[in-house]
Subunit: 307 residues, 2 copies
């Protein structure tokens, strides 16, 4: 059985193909207070991959002291079998070592666009955090892994306010030079609006970061996620992060609402006639697996489809 | 005390001024199961007006049999004093008579873009419904009222599927010819995506409906509301409907989620440097008045602001 579908209207100003990058099992779960057992996580990841999602960030080798939710990274990966090709977040050399031991092929590293978040999140300055990420990336590349780079707080920061676009592009440039195949620009606290997205993308292009090396990562804290995606599409971005079920948030910013929901991103892309290779109904079902377990409300699309 | 604000980035492709049209007390409440007492409605309306919202659709003279929630339209209006200038929905001649007795100065009429919804909602064909709206509009104009026209089901219909843009523009054209100062195109079931919005606006322009006589009215059933607003802004639309607190939905379509939240619309517009004359913090407080009463979750922006 399939649910309703949007009517398809193409707009020549948008790309024809887009990659959607699933962050629910990592970015989503790390912000959820309810501890999720390993077998539920593995089932969630397998359902996401089964829905056709090409990239599912499976877990993180962040310290269990910081994020108890992901303390079972090793156990999760042991259950994934072939799916070990999916990416894993790695914050430092110790994490990289653990990822390597688990057979991980693809990692993501992260840096901060602001000083305050760098200090609060990694207890080091912005430059030091970026250099550490670059070192981890270099070492991962030597091990034959692929490396994605995240930049956090790319639009606003709860302590510093609005973030200069140039400061973000500088960090992105460094991560790109360190060998990251793609840089994901994160609106960690969800404050961005559409023309700010356009300005940030343009700043990157001016700094020599090609469009096809950029991804955008939005949170729906202020409900702006999907309109920001639309601005990104128009600016030529072809990779977007989202979290099935809309789970997550930012544990450091006290926001009550989560990542952009993958279901809503897919509805938009499919309505624009942009192929993603993903089965929306199967994503909706995977979303229910996790929102029902967490006791969160289901995604709006799951509710609308009457699942 | 004021909450956080988006950084302001202008985009020359968007209009500089936008009118936001508040539909919470009417379109929002009519879809809520919890009966709201007259004094709570009046307080909600007064808070909305106090926040600077220029147009607050206050109630509806629809039959109490159809919408028991709005059976107290006369009592609400009696409490509004000067605020009686705000618009009121009127479905037929009987409703217009009651509106006139209450001293109403401005009404809204509605028609359907599809046959099935016309039959289900008003027990008549699409053409007959449109003709009745035109008659009500003509009579209201003779009484010195201003008249807004709504078109329902402009993008998709739960029974008929996707709706042809031309069918919508035909109905709009008729309402405009009947003397409506503005036509609000409603995505009653929330299925529209961005390029569909662009296509529908362009169809109207081709049919001789000027951009400054159009408004867009989105529901967030599939999370598409704000990205559709962005598409509308780019197409040159300068009036958008929304519902403070995101209350409402479509009682006929069984959707679980509501109208586009006014708070999220204002965040976007203010981030784009578009002036609205509205105080977002005051709107957030008004939203809490009604969501707390209804026992609904607060809007995302209210949660993010920690109200």
């Amino acid at each position: 059985m399939t649910g309703p579908r949007p009517a398809v209207y193409r707009d020549q100003d948008f790309p024809q193909d887009v990659v959607v990058y699933e962050v629910g099992p990592r970015d989503g779960l790390q912000a959820e207070a309810t501890l999720v057992p390993t077998d539920v996580k593995v089932r969630f990841i397998k359902e996401l991959v089964g829905a056709g999602l090409p990239l599912v960030e499976a877990t993180s080798f962040v310290s269990p002291k910081w994020v108890p939710q992901l303390a079972d990274a090793q156990e999760v990966l042991a259950e994934l079998g072939d799916l070990i090709r999916h990416p894993v977040l790695v914050p430092n050399m110790r994490g990289l070592e653990r990822a390597r031991e688990s057979g991980v092929k693809s990692i993501a590293v992260f840096a901060s666009a602001t000083e305050t978040f760098a200090h609060r999140n990694l207890n080091a300055g912005r430059t030091a955090v970026c250099e550490m990420a670059a070192e981890v990336a270099a070492e991962a590349l030597r091990s034959g892994m692929t490396v994605r780079g995240y930049v956090s707080m790319c639009f606003g920061d709860p302590w510093e306010g609005a973030v200069e676009t140039k400061a973000v592009a500088d960090v992105s440039r460094q991560l790109l030079d360190a060998g990251c195949y793609e840089i994901s620009l994160g609106d960690t606290i969800g404050v961005a609006t559409a023309a700010h997205v356009t300005a940030l993308v343009n700043e990157h292009v001016a700094a020599g970061v090609p469009l096809n090396r950029l991804a955008l990562h939005f949170h729906d804290t202020y409900g702006q996620g999907l309109s920001n995606v639309l601005a990104g599409l128009r600016a030529g971005i072809t990779c977007f992060d989202a979290s099935t079920g809309g789970i997550g948030g930012c544990p450091f910013a006290g926001s009550a609402t989560g990542n952009l929901a993958m279901e809503e991103l897919l509805w938009l892309l499919h309505g624009l006639g942009i192929s993603t290779g993903v089965d929306l109904d199967a994503v909706v079902r995977a979303g229910q697996t996790i929102t029902d377990f967490l006791g969160r409300p289901r995604s709006r699309i799951a509710m609308a489809m009457g699942h």
